[in-house]
Symmetry: C2
Subunit: 478 residues, 2 copies
């Protein structure tokens, strides 16, 4: 007997986007709260998305010659203090270990907020000759930042990420690698997560503590706010000099290498939710969805239905898909709502009448379009529908982005456009931090990036009227 389990409602996104987001995180069982404020538990369904992302990204890193390592989670305070800008940026939000067992430590240790200092110390220990270069390391781990406010996936005191750290013999090679990794992130977002990105450079004000240049991919969420989805930093030889990292070059001279670091985090899951989700819940990109296809037997008590459904599941699993059949005694209505909530990209329905005709029905999560499929063509048809889902997701997000970029030529115009429409406001900029601060103060927007794809909108800065140097995208960010 079908049990009529009630479908839990989530807040409509148009009513309260923030509440909708929290509802989705909780009801799709992505995350749970822990005993400590701002620290979250990654539940199986949430963690599985991250696992799939790790798997794909890790392969891309390795294609680029990157090797994985694991550095300690603790940083002695004296080590953190070696690079001035870096410690100023991070020390105020470190969690500090003061006791080991029953003993007070001679020096306190920070739980890593990021590991530049640890990698630098290690590079100084192991680097000898130009033959050892480049060294391209990465680690998958969690980091701690003791921030005041928190939000699932977007701002955790402890979050999962990867941090790559590389050293190179020349500045040019390091600069190129910084951009290479930014494009790895950008391509991953666009091709895997179906999230269009804007690639560009951060202003000096927004760059990473201690970096010479920070590059970023910015994504626009459904509510037209911006999400910084990944960054890649070029350090020059500043850290190397602060940490005495040296190698013997081809002319037998001691010299400092040039350094990069780059990272993405589980914040990307927040990005997926807010880019693709709708009032029925999650919509997951097929390539990272924990369940890519769910098979739902219709009238499953009828003879032969369950066996046929199981066979479909087995065939799809054998074709390399993450596939699940739900033959629980919940009602069909509940099941449909449940897997829509969980964002499963494609549903396969098969009932006695479909099976009689040698057919089943494929239903896309994106638009609920039903496609009748001959059983013998199942694998091809499912693969094709998943491609369509992926494309639909990208197109919808791309349209949202394209529809919400506005050009402004004065501070007032920028403010008004942001108030009326949200999104990115693009303007020229003279390069002065004073004008950047003014934009924040007056129009409530931070500079999101100086896009690689520059346009000449005007000759002067809309804030101060001095000659313009660059075009900037401004926005309100998560």
């Amino acid at each position: 007997m079908a049990k009529d389990k009630k479908v839990e409602q989530i807040t409509d996104m148009e009513v309260d986007f923030a509440q909708w987001f929290t509802d989705v995180c909780r009801k799709a069982q992505l995350i749970d709260y822990s005993a400590i404020k701002g620290v979250f538990i990654y539940r199986p369904y949430g963690y599985a998305i991250w696992e799939n992302m790790m798997h794909i990204l890790d392969k891309e890193f390795k294609k680029n010659g990157v090797e994985n390592v694991y550095m300690p989670m603790l940083i002695p305070e004296s080590l953190l203090q070696k690079e001035k800008d870096h410690v100023e940026g991070f020390a105020p939000e470190c969690a500090w270990v003061t006791h080991g067992g029953n003993d007070k430590l001679e020096e306190r240790y920070a739980i890593r907020p990021t590991s530049e200092t640890l990698f630098c110390e290690h590079f100084a220990n192991v680097l000898q000759s130009h033959r050892d270069l480049p060294m391209k390391y990465n680690q998958w781990c969690s980091v701690l930042r003791w921030e005041k406010t928190s939000r699932p996936f977007l701002r955790h005191r402890e979050f999962l990420w990867q941090e790559g750290h590389t050293i190179h013999a020349t500045a040019q090679e390091a600069q190129e690698f910084t951009e290479t990794m930014l494009h790895v992130y950008g391509d991953f977002c666009e091709n895997v997560l179906a999230m269009p990105v804007t690639r560009g450079q951060k202003t000096d004000k927004e760059k990473f503590n201690g970096a010479e240049a920070t590059y970023t991919i910015e994504c626009m969420m459904h509510d037209t706010k911006a999400l910084q989805a990944g960054t890649s930093h070029y350090f020059g030889d500043g850290f190397a000099k602060a940490f005495n990292i040296e190698f013997t070059d081809k002319n037998n001279q001691k010299t400092a290498p040039f350094e990069t670091s780059w990272g993405v985090s589980t914040r990307l899951i927040g990005g997926i939710i807010m880019t693709h989700g709708d009032n029925n819940g999650l919509v997951l990109p097929p390539l990272v969805a924990p369940i890519q296809v769910v098979v739902l037997p219709v009238a499953q008590h009828k003879p032969g239905v369950l066996d046929a459904a199981a066979e479909l599941r087995d065939r799809l699993t054998a074709s390399g898909l993450r596939c699940k059949m739900d033959d629980s005694d919940n009602s069909m209505g509940w099941k449909c709502a449940e897997y829509e909530m969980k964002g499963v990209p494609l549903r396969v329905e098969c009932g006695p009448r479909d099976l009689e005709k040698g057919e089943c029905v494929l239903v896309r999560r994106t638009d609920r379009e039903k496609v009748v499929c001959k059983l013998e063509e199942l694998e091809t048809a499912v693969a094709e529908q998943l491609k369509i889902v992926q494309q639909q997701m990208f197109d919808k997000a791309k349209k949202n982005l394209d529809d919400h970029i506005y050009e402004a030529h004065s501070l007032e115009e920028a403010k008004q456009l942001q108030q009326d429409n949200g999104g990115y406001i693009k303007t020229m900029w003279c390069g002065d931090e004073a004008c950047e601060l003014k934009m924040k103060e007056v129009a409530g927007m931070s500079s999101r990036c100086i896009p690689f794809a520059q346009e000449h909108l005007d000759d002067v800065c809309p804030v101060c009227g001095k000659p313009a140097k660059k075009m900037v995208y401004w926005g309100v960010a998560y």
Copy 2:
């Protein structure tokens, strides 16, 4: 021109086994020291072994219905204190966080030494009905234990591991699952790591803090000392009751579930080194070796050699193997010594004369046996040689184990046998902790386990003369 780089020597294992071990860890670039005593850096070659192990184990876990999650690294002191035996065991070796940013915390937090308490709290939050059971969770993470002494891989203050935590509706199901996971570990050690294991139960003295029963796999190292390589714990409903974990059973009654946990760590890498290594360095089991085959071109300046070697590498890579070609300008002697040190299971040599004959030479790391191979049979021949290497490694370790198990019928005999031969001393045991302590005091041995495969050696306990209950393996352990 071949550069005559000097091959660094390692201490002979017969001279100083501990020094040999440290030399291997350092010179094979598995590990590096960090700024904090007892905390180590996992370098790319060491971490890659762990990655391969994780990959294989994770699949096995998932076959057993286990899902991955990620729990916070911090445990509030009050949470850690909820289960009495558990906190007594772990609190003395916790690292404590007392400050977040500039603020003193109201309650101090331990960095997880293990996460039973966190999983219990989460289970209490999410478990509702018997339909939710079993919940089988696992996480891959690092844990901290602030111990006084340390040694690469064997005892780190911070080490990488996995910890599985499950809850079940019945005691029987939980008990069975505890043993299932022990056998997953045992089979992994034997079939993947080529390390024969002794499977059994720990005595009450040696069991995990808070567990009702602890099962273990014990491995014998080359020096005949024992290494506890993995454990699986059955908790009954003790933790569940301490943490108020409840579910509604089929009769609509609130009841506590039964719990298990199980873990292996990077200590297994220490086990691999000490089981299989020799005076030339590491010997790595093919299934987890970061480089399974190294292709070394002989007289590589001769026309055609490098291209031919690259083709062999490409073919082996295409066949699914982790394969590397070394065409650096180091001498052939240096390269052979280097990849022996790194424990690469198989070396492929190809020079002009081999190639003329349409052949190459395969050299096994285990016994340096050379096998001539027709180029067209490369993939099959390499696969076959890797199987032989795996078998040779297991057989050698199994012989070492079998040759060093001695039967004793008195305390004095046990002591003498251990002094003369090391290894495991097997005796009967009455079950009293007093006799176990006496064995430690007099013969310097701890109980390694009560093997599943029991033998009746005698009617009485060799220590007290009272009726014997079980046969125990005793040994000196890492």
